[in-house]
């Protein structure tokens, strides 16, 4: 998985947000508020090779059950793909 748009990830007013920058700022307005898990997924999206690996990484770092970790990962990554912020790098489009 690869992030294909430009965003600044930062904390502001106690919340973690993604703010579009560069050419992306001309396509999207506003900012995206992220949960702690979403921030973790964003930071590690390009470091892992599959959804299963991402879920395992979440489980290694957060005290949540597997079902919740998978649900969070699928929802957030799905939103990233749907909005064109990220794209699959594997030929079979599984990651």
């Amino acid at each position: 998985m690869k992030i294909i748009k430009e965003f600044i990830l930062r904390e502001i007013a106690g919340e973690c947000v993604l703010v579009p920058t560069g050419a992306t700022s001309q396509e999207f307005n506003g900012m995206i508020t992220m949960s702690e898990t979403a921030k973790f997924i964003w930071e590690n999206l390009e470091q892992v090779d599959s959804l299963e690996e991402m879920v395992q990484l979440i489980l290694d770092n957060y005290e949540i059950d597997e079902e919740t970790a998978k649900k969070d990962a699928v929802a957030f990554i799905g939103a990233l793909l749907q909005n064109g912020f990220a794209e699959c790098t594997k030929e079979d489009q599984t990651w």
Binding site: I8, R10, I12, T33
Partner: protein, 299 residues
Amino acid sequence: MVTRNYRIGHTEIALTMPEEMPCPENLSKFRIAEPERAKEEVIRYQIEYTDDIEGIKGQLLEMKTGREIYRDDLTVFQTEQGECRFLKFRGAKQHYAVSAQEQDNRYHIWFDKSVEKMLVFDTVFLAALCLEKQVMRDDAWILHSAYMCYHDTAVLFSAPSGTGKSTQADQWETYRGTWTVNGDKSLLVREPDGWYAHGWPICGSSEICNNKAYPVRAIVMLSQATENRVYPLKGIQAVRELLAQITVNGWNSEFQIKAMDRLEVLLQEVPVYKQECDISEEAVRCLERCLETDSRKDA
């Protein structure tokens, strides 16, 4: 050619341009006889007409380094000397101005000769000066707001265009005798003793533009409603609403990070309210109660 000096907030600019070139009247309110800051701190502009804007664009594009940011009214890219901008009216085919940064504090601007008569309009002329970028060097930024002077303090009504910012400021003038410093923009500056709103030479369709600075008492994010209500706006919601009304060069991440850093400080130091309101004296009364209660708490 003639050189004129201006001071906007703490930012000083010097414009060298043909003597007969029209200049927005509002800018003259910011004119100073001589620069007050050190020579290297003054932003200098060489401004001229051209009948070959396409040729100038072509030369600059040959020096382009990196990618181009494009939107309907503006194209931005970098050269080794700095930032270049091509400006266009929305929907127009041709660019009307080109701005090229030649050194850290030097810019060259060309206006297409055909827009000569339009240069009296502040938005047309001043857009080429990239002023939002210059004031950010002095840690200042522009808030889209009707700037009202209330008991020698600044109350800034901010909201997207068409919400009724200047209408609320007008209501205060009518019912409380306040006055409006600028109907559409204010320049926010963090001074050693707190935040100040300064005047700004662009005022949109409000036509109210004055060069005055007052300490900021409150920022009020407006929205239209049938019932009047005022409440403090905090946290991420305040960031979201304010950031949408601050002039930020979205393509420049350094600029954005700086703006967000300043915004965090502002939110800790300046009361930000949400006012849901109609057009009535009750709307004025509702905010007035809130401002007076807060000033009693401060005392």
